[in-house]
Amino acid sequence: MTNTRLVEVRQKVLKQNDVVARALRDDFERAGVFVVSLVSSPGSGKTAFLERTLSALAGKYRVAALVGDLATDNDARRLARSGAPARQIITGTVCHLEAAMVREALEGWPLDGLDYLFIENVGNLVCPSSYDLGEALRLVLFSVTEGEDKPLKYPTIFNTADLAVLTKIDLAAAVEFDAAAAMHSVQSVRPGMPLLEVSSKTGRGMDAWIELLEKRASQRTVQTAD
C-alpha cells in the first residue's frame, strides 16, 4: 500500500463555464440587454413560441435571438422572418449550449443596441441543466402533448428554471390535458415557480407572457441602478 496524502482543491467542475457565464452576465448588464434562455425537449414548441415573442416585441424593442441545434440553420431562418436578427449555433454532436458557444456566437454583435436577447437551447431536458449561459431568466417549456408529469420526470432541469411555460394549449382538449395536474407537477419539483399557459398558434397567453417579461426586465433595471 502506497502512502498517499490528501490535498484539498475545492473547485467546481464547470468552473470554466461559470467564469465565462459570469463575464457574459456582466456584459449583458452593462449593455442593458435582458437575456432570456429557453430549454425544453425537442418538439415542444420553443421556436414557434420565440417567433411569436419576437413579433410581439419587434415594434417596441430591439430584439435578437441565438438558436442552438445539432445541425441545420432552419430555426435561425425561421426566426429571422420576424425581422429580428437571428444567429444559429450549430453544435455538431454536443447536446447542449455552453457559455463559450454563446460568447463566440455574439462576436461582432453590438449588444448595446439591444433590449432583449433570446437564447434557444438545443432540444434536450437533461444536459442543458448543468450549464449557466449568463441569462437573466431561464424558461423551461413543455407542451400539452408531452403529459402533465413531464416536470416530475425531469426535476433537475425544472429546478434550474425561473419560469415554466406550457405550450400548445390549443391542443389541450384533444389530448385531454389536465392543467391542474400540470401545475401540481411544477409546484412539486420547484415550489413557487410560475407556470404560463400559451398557444403560439392562436396567440392565447402571449399578452400575459409579454407583460411578465417586461416586468422582469424592468425589475432587473431597477436592481442594476442601485
Partner: protein
C-alpha cells in the same frame, strides 16, 4: 449524455494541479456529486475510466461522495430533507421548500497524491 465532457473537465483540472507537484502522482480524485447536478454517477464513472487513458491520471480512481438533496423549510426554520427529488416539500411538516440548499453539487474537493520516489 454530457458525462464525457464532465469527465474530461475533471481530468484537465486534476492534471493541472498535479503538474505543480512533479514528485507525486494523482492516485484519486475526490468529487462531491448531488442528484440535481444533472450528472449521473454511473455514467460519470464509466466516462472517467475511458477519458483517463493516456493521461497522467491513467491510474487514478474517482471517489464520489454522493450529496443528498436538502431544502430550507420556513415551517421548521431548518434545513430538512425533501419527500423526494421531484417533491420538494419538507419530509417533516409537508411545507413546500423555500429554496434548495444541497443537491446541485458538482465539485472536485480533493486530490489524493502518492509519492513517485517509492517506485525508484
Amino acid at each position: 449524455m454530457h458525462e464525457l465532457s464532465i469527465a474530461l473537465s475533471i481530468i484537465d483540472m486534476a492534471t493541472e494541479e498535479a503538474e505543480r507537484r512533479p514528485s507525486e502522482r494523482v492516485a484519486a480524485v475526490h468529487l462531491k456529486l448531488g442528484p440535481l447536478s444533472g450528472v449521473v454517477q454511473s455514467a460519470l464513472v464509466s466516462a472517467f475510466e475511458l477519458a483517463r487513458e493516456g493521461t497522467p491520471l491513467a491510474e487514478a480512481s474517482l471517489v464520489i461522495e454522493a450529496i443528498p438533496v436538502t431544502i430550507w423549510c420556513d415551517g421548521c426554520n431548518a434545513e430538512t430533507a425533501p419527500l423526494a427529488l421531484n417533491e420538494l416539500r419538507c419530509a417533516d411538516c409537508g411545507e413546500p421548500a423555500a429554496r434548495l440548499v444541497h443537491g446541485q453539487e458538482l465539485e472536485v474537493t480533493a486530490l489524493e497524491l502518492a509519492a513517485l520516489e517509492l517506485e525508484a
